[in-house]
Amino acid sequence: MVMLMSQYLDRLFRLIDSTDVKSYVNVVITSSLDEYRVLRDRLGSSTLYILLDNVTPNEGNVITLPKLNLDGLWINLSKNHLIIDSINKVKPHIISDIMNALVIISTEPYSLYVTYELLKEVKDLNSRCNVLTLMRLPSMLSDNDALNALIYIAMVLEGGLSNSILVTSDKLFTYLRLIKGIDPLRSCINALLDNYSEISTYLDAYGKLGMILCFPGIELEVFGNLVNTIKFLHHLIGDYEPYINESLLLITKDLILHVDSEAFRRISRDLIRISEIKGQYESMVITIEPRGHLIKSLRRYIHKIYDVSGELRLHINVDKLTYMVGLK
C-alpha cells in the first residue's frame, strides 16, 4: 500500500515537474553507442535516448546509465540499489507524452531489468504507447542467456509491455560487417523502421514474437537467386536447414512477400523485378520468421522455465510461451 502510494506520489510530482522537463514523443533504450548513433541520425533530436552504457554523449536528450556487469537471472536484481537509483534517474523524464518506444537489448541481466522496469513505467503512463523490442542473442548462447531471454519475452508479452519482440543474432552482424562497403547495423535498423507497420501487423498475427534476419547490399548476380540469398543468410546464424514457411520477406521498400508454401515457389520469379529495381534502391532482404532458428534454439530451455517460475513465483503463462517458441 505504502509502495503504491509512493508510486502515485512520485508520478504526481513528476507531472508537476514535467513543466520544467522537456517532453518527448519517442524514446529509445539501447546499450550500444553504435546503435545510439544510428538511431540518432534516423530519429533526430526529438527523441529521448536512454543509453545503458558508461560512455556519455554530451547531449541534452540523452540519459546515460552506468553499465553494471552482473550475472544470473535479471529478475533477481531487484535488491540492487545501484539499479534502482539508475531507474529513478530516468523516471522523471518518462511522462505521458511518449507515444513510441524502441528497445534494443542484449540478454545481459542488468539491461533486461532496467528496460523491463522502464517499459512498465511507460505503459502505466500511456497504455497506447507503441513499443518494439529488438533482442540481440549472443553468438554463443549460454543457459543463463537463454533463460533470461525467455523469461523477459514471457513477462514483457504477458504484461503487454511491448507490442512485439524481435530476436536477432549478434553473430549475423559480425558476419555482415565483413561485406565491403556496407554498414549493416545502419541499413538493417533503417529498413526495420521503414517497414515497421508491415512487421507489426505480421507479428500481431503470429504471437508477437519473431526472429529477424537482414541482409543489406545483396548482389543477386553473386547468389544466383533470392532463395539462395535467404538460405545463405540462415547459414550465417548456423541454420543449415532453414524452414521459412509463414515468414515475411521484405525486399526493399517496394516488394513485400508473405511466404506460404505456394509463394515460396514463386520467389525466384521475383528476381527479375528485384534486378530491375536494384539500381534505384539499396537491395535489402529482411526475413521475419515466427518459428525461426534463434527461437527454436530458445525452446530447449522451456522446461527450465517451469522450475524458475515456480521458485520465483513469476506470473508467466508458460503454455503461451511454449506456443510462441513453436513447441505446440
Partner: protein, 720 residues
C-alpha cells in the same frame, strides 16, 4: 435640353409678356394684334438665324413666341374678364396658360431626328388659324402634318404639340365674358361665338386632332405595309390617292362628329371636304416625290461609286496585265484583255445612262444590280483566272523544289519561305512583285542544283570511296523563268549519277540496318552492365541507328542516311572505346586493390585483356576508312570487338561483385570447417560458377584444406 437653355426660354417669355403688357396701354387693339404678330415673326426669323446650327431650337422658340403674342393680342383687346381679378393678375394667369407652349417646345428639343417641315407647318397653323377668315386653312394644315409623318412617334409628337398649342385658346373662353369683341373672323372666332358652350369648342378641337392623328396612323400603317416605296411616278400617285381617300374619310368623320357640337354652315362643310383632303394630298405628293428624289440620288451616288470602283479595278487589272505580259511568264492573257475591254465598254454605257437626270430610282436600281452581279463577277473571274494561272506556276516550281529536296536532302529555308509566301498571293495588285520573287526563287533553285551536284559527289566519295562526278564549270543561273527548264535538266543529270551507284549504296544501307539490329541484340545481352558510362555510350550507339527508316528508302536518301549514320557511328564508337578504356582502367584499379588486399591471384583477367586489345586495334584501323568498308567489317566480324570488350567489362564487374563478399565467404567457410570439420559443397547455397570461383580462391589461400569428392575438409596429415 440643358438648364441654361431652359432658363433662357423662361426669361424670354417673361420679358416678352411684360413688354406686351406695357405696350397694351398705349395702342389700339387692332394695332396691338398686328404689332405683336409682327414682333413674333421678327423674333422667329431672328431665332432661325441665330440657331441655324440647331433648327429645333428655332422651332421651339417660334412656338412660344407666336402663341404668347396671339394670346396677348386677345387678352388685352378690350374683352371683359369673368373674373373679378385685376387685369394684371389675369395677365399673369394668361402667361401661365401660355406656358403650356413649353410642352411642344420640349418635344421638339428632345427630338433629334425627323423631318422639320411638319414643325414649320405647326408654327404656321396658329397664325393661319387666327387670321384665316374662311376657317379652312387650319384643318387643312393639321391634316397635312399627318401625311408627312414617318413613324408613330412622330405622329404622337405632332398631336401633343398641336394640342398644347391650341390649348390656351380653348381655355380662353372660360375667362372672357364677351368673346364677340374679338376683331377677326376665323375658325377660332366661330367657335367663340357660341355662348354657353365654352367647353364644346375645346372638345371639337381635341376630336379633330385625335381623328386626324388616327387617320395619320392608318396612313402610316398602309404606307408601310401595303404601299410601294416611292421608286417611280406610279408609286407617288398611289400614295397621293391613298392620302386623299383617307383625308376625305377623316373630314367626313369630323363633320359627323361635330354636327351636334358646333354649327357650321353647309357650304363651309363642303368646302372642308374639298380643301382639307386636297391640301393633305398635295403634301403627300410632295413628300413622296421628295422621297423618290432622295432615293434616286442615293442610288445614283451608289451606282457611280460602284462604277468608279469597277473602273479602278479595271485600270488596275489592265496595268497588272501590262506588267506581266512578258511571254516568259507563261500566263496567257489575250483572252483576259478582251474581257476587260468588253467590261470597260459596258461601264461607259451605264455611266451615260446614269448621267440623265430623268432616270427613275427603279431603273437605277436595276443598273446597280447588273453592276453588282454581272460586271463584278466578270472582273472577279478575270482576277481569279490570273491568280490561278500564277498559283499553278508556283505549284510547278514548288514540285520541282520538293523533288530537289527529296533528291538531295538539302533544304533552302529562304526558298521554302518564299514559296509559302507566293502560295499565299491572292491579290492581283501583288502579282507583278510576286512574279519577280518567283524568278529569284528559280535562280536560287538553279544554284541549289549546282550545289547538290557538288555535295553528292563529296558524299559518294565519303561513303563508297569512289569519285562520282566533278563539276568543272557549273551552269550560270539567272533570274528568268526559263530556269524552270534548266533545273529540270539538272535534275535529270543528278538522277543519272544516282542510278550509277544505286546498287552499292543500297547494299551498304542494308548492311548498316543489319548492323543496327546486331548492335541492338548485343546491347540487350549487356543491358545489366553496371557502368553507367559504358551504358550511356552503348545507348548512344543504339540511337545512331534509329534515324534509319526500315522501308521505303530511296537510293539518294540512303546515301545521306549512310553518311549521317556513319559520321555518328565513328564518333560514338570512339566514345564507346574511350568509355570502355576508362571503365576498364578504373575497375582494374579497384580489382588490383582487392587482389592486393586478399593476396589472391586472378591472372586470367590480364590474359583476356590482351585478346581484347587485338580486337580493339583492328577496329581502330577500320574506323577512319570509307563508310562502306567500316560497315562491312563490323557486319562480317559480327561486332566481335565490341562484344569482347563488353564481355571483359562484365567479367571484371562480376568479379568485383563477388570479391565484395569474399571476406564473408571465407569466414563462413572457416567457421563451418572449425565447427563441423568438413563441408559438403552441395549444401552451400551459391550458384555453381560462384562456388567454383570461391573454392579455387579459398583452396589456394588456405593451406591444409583439401577438396575431395565435393567435400572440403582439413588435410589429414595437417591435422595429425
Amino acid at each position: 435640353m440643358r438648364f441654361i437653355e431652359l432658363l433662357q426660354l423662361i426669361v424670354f417669355v417673361l420679358v416678352f409678356e411684360l413688354l406686351l403688357y406695357v405696350l397694351s396701354g398705349g395702342i389700339s387693339t387692332a394695332q396691338l394684334m398686328l404689332f405683336s404678330t409682327a414682333y413674333a415673326v421678327i423674333l422667329i426669323i431672328t431665332y432661325f438665324y441665330i440657331f441655324s446650327q440647331d433648327i429645333r431650337k428655332s422651332v421651339a422658340l417660334s412656338y412660344i413666341s407666336l402663341s404668347v403674342a396671339l394670346i396677348f393680342g386677345y387678352s388685352v383687346s378690350g374683352v371683359a374678364f369673368r373674373s373679378p381679378l385685376d387685369p394684371y393678375y389675369i395677365s399673369l394667369i394668361l402667361a401661365a396658360i401660355s406656358a403650356t407652349n413649353f410642352i411642344p417646345a420640349f418635344l421638339v428639343m428632345r427630338q433629334r431626328h425627323g423631318f422639320i417641315v411638319p414643325h414649320i407647318l405647326i408654327i404656321a397653323s396658329l397664325p393661319v388659324a387666327m387670321l384665316d377668315p374662311t376657317g379652312y386653312a387650319s384643318p387643312a394644315l393639321i391634316a397635312a402634318y399627318m401625311v408627312l409623318s414617318n413613324s408613330l412617334e412622330d405622329l404622337i409628337i405632332y398631336a401633343v404639340s398641336l394640342m398644347s398649342i391650341y390649348a390656351p385658346y380653348l381655355i380662353l373662353p372660360l375667362l372672357i365674358t364677351n368673346i364677340k369683341f374679338v376683331p377677326n373672323i376665323s375658325m377660332l372666332n366661330m367657335t367663340y361665338m357660341l355662348p354657353g358652350f365654352e367647353l364644346k369648342p375645346a372638345m371639337f378641337f381635341m376630336s379633330i386632332i385625335l381623328i386626324y392623328t388616327l387617320v395619320g396612323c392608318m396612313y402610316l400603317l398602309i404606307k408601310k405595309r401595303f404601299l410601294p416605296e416611292a421608286y417611280g411616278l406610279r408609286d407617288i400617285l398611289i400614295r397621293t390617292a391613298t392620302s386623299y381617300v383617307l383625308c376625305v374619310a377623316a373630314v367626313l368623320t369630323v363633320v359627323i362628329v361635330s354636327q351636334n357640337v358646333i354649327s357650321v354652315p353647309q357650304a363651309t362643310r363642303y368646302g372642308y371636304l374639298v380643301v382639307v383632303p386636297l391640301t393633305a394630298s398635295i403634301f403627300a405628293l410632295l413628300n413622296a416625290f421628295n422621297e423618290m428624289l432622295t432615293r434616286s440620288n442615293v442610288l445614283r451616288s451608289k451606282a457611280m461609286s460602284m462604277i468608279n470602283s469597277l473602273r479602278s479595278d479595271l485600270n488596275l487589272y489592265a496595268s497588272v496585265i501590262e506588267e506581266v505580259s512578258d511571254a516568259s511568264t507563261r500566263l496567257s492573257i489575250n483572252e483576259v484583255k478582251d474581257s476587260l475591254t468588253k467590261i470597260s465598254k459596258e461601264l461607259d454605257n451605264i455611266s451615260w445612262e446614269l448621267s440623265k437626270s430623268l432616270t427613275t430610282a427603279r431603273r437605277i436600281n436595276e443598273v446597280l444590280n447588273r453592276l453588282d452581279t454581272e460586271l463584278s463577277k466578270s472582273l472577279n473571274s478575270i482576277k481569279n483566272s490570273l491568280l490561278n494561272k500564277f498559283a499553278s506556276l508556283v505549284n510547278d516550281v514548288k514540285n520541282l523544289y520538293n523533288s530537289i529536296a527529296l533528291t538531295s536532302g538539302l533544304m533552302d529555308s529562304h526558298v521554302s519561305d518564299m514559296l509559302k509566301h507566293l502560295e499565299g498571293v491572292n491579290d492581283l495588285e501583288a502579282l507583278p512583285d510576286a512574279l519577280l520573287k518567283l524568278k529569284k526563287v528559280l535562280k536560287r533553285l538553279c544554284d541549289l542544283c549546282g550545289n547538290v551536284l557538288s555535295v553528292i559527289s563529296t558524299y559518294y566519295r565519303e561513303v563508297l570511296g569512289k569519285e562520282a562526278y566533278s563539276v568543272n564549270a557549273p551552269i550560270k543561273c539567272s533570274e528568268d523563268l526559263v530556269m524552270l527548264d534548266v533545273i529540270k535538266i539538272y535534275m535529270e543529270f543528278i538522277d543519272k549519277v544516282h542510278s550509277e551507284f544505286k546498287d552499292e549504296v543500297m547494299t551498304t544501307y542494308s548492311n548498316l540496318t543489319k548492323l543496327g539490329r546486331d548492335l541492338e541484340a548485343l546491347i540487350n545481352s549487356f543491358k545489366d552492365m553496371s557502368s553507367s558510362e559504358v551504358l550511356t555510350a552503348l545507348n548512344n550507339l543504339r540511337e545512331t541507328f534509329k534515324v534509319l527508316p526500315e522501308f521505303g528508302v530511296t537510293p539518294i536518301r540512303a546515301l545521306f542516311n549512310i553518311r549521317e549514320v556513319c559520321m555518328a557511328l565513328r564518333d560514338n564508337l570512339t566514345r564507346f572505346l574511350d568509355a570502355v578504356n576508362n571503365e576498364v582502367h578504373v575497375r582494374e584499379l579497384e580489382m588490383s586493390n582487392l587482389i592486393d588486399l586478399k593476396d589472391i591471384k586472378l591472372d586470367y583477367l590480364t590474359t583476356r585483356k590482351s585478346d581484347v586489345s587485338a580486337a580493339v586495334n583492328e577496329l581502330l584501323t577500320y574506323i577512319d576508312r570509307p563508310c562502306r568498308e567500316l560497315v562491312e567489317y563490323l557486319v562480317n566480324s559480327k561486332l566481335k570487338p565490341l562484344s569482347e570488350l563488353l564481355g571483359y567489362v562484365k567479367l571484371i564487374d562480376i568479379t568485383i561483385k563477388r570479391a565484395k563478399y569474399l571476406s564473408l565467404f571465407i569466414k563462413y567457410l572457416d567457421d563451418r570447417l572449425s565447427i563441423d570439420g568438413s563441408i559438403n559443397v552441395d549444401e552451400i547455397p551459391l550458384p555453381s560458377n560462384v562456388l567454383s570461383w570461391l573454392l579455387s580462391i579459398y583452396l589456394s589461400s588456405r593451406g591444409g584444406v583439401v577438396y575431395d569428392g565435393r567435400v572440403i575438409k582439413r588435410e589429414l596429415s595437417g591435422t595429425s
